[in-house]
Symmetry: C2
Subunit: 492 residues, 2 copies
Amino acid sequence: MHIEIQRKAEISLSKQIYQCIIDHIRSGLLQEGEQLPSVRELSKQLGVSLVTVVKAYNKLEKENFVESIQGRGTFVTTEMQGKVDTEQDMLSFNWQLSVQDYLPRSQFSQFHYVPEKIHLSSSMIDPGLLPNRYLEREINQMISENPKLLSQYGPIQGDEQLRFAMYEYLKGLEVPTKPENILVTSGSQQGIDLVARTFVGPGDVVVMEAPTYPGAIDVFRGRGATILTVPVDNDGMRVDILQNLCDKYKPKVIYTIPTFHNPTGAVMTLKRRKQILNIAQSIQSIIIEDDPYSEIYFDKKPPVSIKSLDEYGHVIYLKGLSKTLAPGCRIGILAASGSIFKRLLAAKSNIDLGSPLLTQKVIVPFIKSRKMKDHTKKLRTALKVRRDLVLSILSENAPSEISWIIPKGGLNLWITLPSWIDSNHLLVKVKKQELTFLPGSACYAVEHENHHLRLSYSYMNEQLLHRGITILCEILQSEISLKKEHNHPPYF
Amino acid sequence: MHIEIQRKAEISLSKQIYQCIIDHIRSGLLQEGEQLPSVRELSKQLGVSLVTVVKAYNKLEKENFVESIQGRGTFVTTEMQGKVDTEQDMLSFNWQLSVQDYLPRSQFSQFHYVPEKIHLSSSMIDPGLLPNRYLEREINQMISENPKLLSQYGPIQGDEQLRFAMYEYLKGLEVPTKPENILVTSGSQQGIDLVARTFVGPGDVVVMEAPTYPGAIDVFRGRGATILTVPVDNDGMRVDILQNLCDKYKPKVIYTIPTFHNPTGAVMTLKRRKQILNIAQSIQSIIIEDDPYSEIYFDKKPPVSIKSLDEYGHVIYLKGLSKTLAPGCRIGILAASGSIFKRLLAAKSNIDLGSPLLTQKVIVPFIKSRKMKDHTKKLRTALKVRRDLVLSILSENAPSEISWIIPKGGLNLWITLPSWIDSNHLLVKVKKQELTFLPGSACYAVEHENHHLRLSYSYMNEQLLHRGITILCEILQSEISLKKEHNHPPYF
């Protein structure tokens, strides 16, 4: 088990250990029945006092994550995973447990592919809204014209036609770049990973929004970064707080999702976009501008990208196409410049020698054609309808103790529960009714915020969406009433 | 520029700095005309004496890699890249040069995609030998039956059908595993990277063969590993030397290509396979068994995989399918077990949330059918013909000072030149005749071996192969004669 302690962090060491173990449990890296290292072992391994470890273990036990058995040790008791690793020959592999890894967290994997019927947990788009039939025709034609497509590696940087098509497409989004400054990645998750492995190492300071996209937290934590967080309000990242942090530390990387922020849906104002860039310039930091779906706006167009304001190569811009076009192709791009771009390109070669040519070629004609515009328009309309549906059900049925932010675009809705409701526990309950969401705790890099949840309204059709939100409201309603009636202790 | 010094290594610090800078130049990370840090800066950054840096710079200058200009500094002079970064706005991005990265080497990228006509530099297979037409039909059928294929993410672990098909296929290769212990990767390059990022960190000891696959060196170097090397003879890795190393250090990972070793073509004997596994068991190490093309044997079947001998989960087995089946799909698999597998799966989620579903589905029917067997048979025959052609041209035309190892399978031929010929310089010459090969130096993690080269006979048709090898022999012949006649100093 990899536990990383940051001595200069403002959180106590025992809290860090506590959080790390919870992360392991929630990431499926520590499973039901698995034994934790002994207090003595862990204190030795981390170079901390016995008391520090005992404190962390006690807190975990109090909150029912672990169970300590006299004379045997401490074991994971959580029922959150719902599945036990039943591999019979696990015993033969026991030596493996002593092999240290560099993997503190991989929470997202637990919520990405779920068996539940009403799947509100990850932001994907209903396949019925994606242009499968068009793409199908294009694939057939393309391959019959050029069957060698399957037998060739593409350039490591990505297919030239795709880079050119993306350059044109990005121009339409007011994201200026050049085909030679575009790198094709396997989804924007790989883009984040690429930047992290190239520029972030142990102890380097990375600033993230709180909350933020869990997949990015996992990646930066995996590099041993010191993560500092800045809260998000309706206008995006709180730049005043960012400024204070930057005065004190000097982050190497600032990661932001300025438009339809994931998970809150907030849109960073133009003013703040300019400020954040100014800050990065003054302290020579890299900004990662993650832009999964700025095209999907419901009212008015969002402000221009930070990248469009960038004169000196501070911004690495990431655009995923997987979600909005063809998840089966897993394509994203990264746009950057100068030596930063050059180094990212070299890193891409080390990662996988380039993304598959087939999946790149498949989407080129669509992106180049008018259809891309029509498709985006369609998504805007269809997702607005779903968002409105969710909002209306919530307004009618949600207990008054619940609040939410109205998203002006994107795929997600961020809900805040009363502080005594832990959304991880709530998830166990709603799963019994075949419903899932993303517990808010996955979206926090350092804070212990357990009373939020993210709903994605983009994947389910309206009928299932209706049912799902109604069920959620009912369960919340009943929990709150129960608490009010009996005023029972917060077992939640 | 990221320079990593290993104080416990047996190579002097100045040699390490020297090698690191050459790696940067050969990886295209330091380009013609770029300035090196000043001696003072670098000595401060690395915490070494001025003399150490001066020594390294002097050696680089003597060998014409850099040029120092009075009062201005030291600049890269090499002509190896053949291209200069002409980006005009490079100046605006000068602040980027002070951004430290974690990317010591990415040599392979320079040889992967080349404009030269006679491309003997990377081991790919002639597209004319790959089953494009079959796959084309399968794609068309599959997509028309299930257009939603494009609009879905697959499981992070990989498509179930593909994992089952690979399980059956691997059974045929005597590589026992289970579908649930298979992880689909984007080529085996990603498999190596996955293991490295999960289990290898700064200072961890990794053992590699010398020479070995450059892409693996790049990845382990990028993790800050301490790399120790073991030479390869006709029977594979020298296990006696490995044993000595393991007695002294205790490598966390042993990386090997036991069958048709890349680049030498050597096949590890069964006895050594057993020994290497015993060693790993005794010191609780992980073995990465990279198996790009054990199916491509020319005479008799190679010995069984190390994985098939593995009882306690020490072996992580990697199988690429890109080269031998469909490079355009970039599919490979990784087979492992126990907690090691579980952690690799979690890491895959952090890397890219899973490989594209489309490229996975495309190859399933082919792998499951008889065609896969026939295809492999065809490759064996066709590549044997090409190997024989190369061997016969070499026997007839190569100067007697040149030697080579006869490969009994795989795609590569390893040539040893007289020690005064540097194959990096030779490459510059042959490129003028539209020919490329892989300079042997790329295949060494720590040694300074410049008088080898790797030819891949699998990509070019017989006509171009004939021409390429003939040209190479002519150039070598003329260089050697010239040296003999004039006994001129080894400018090579």
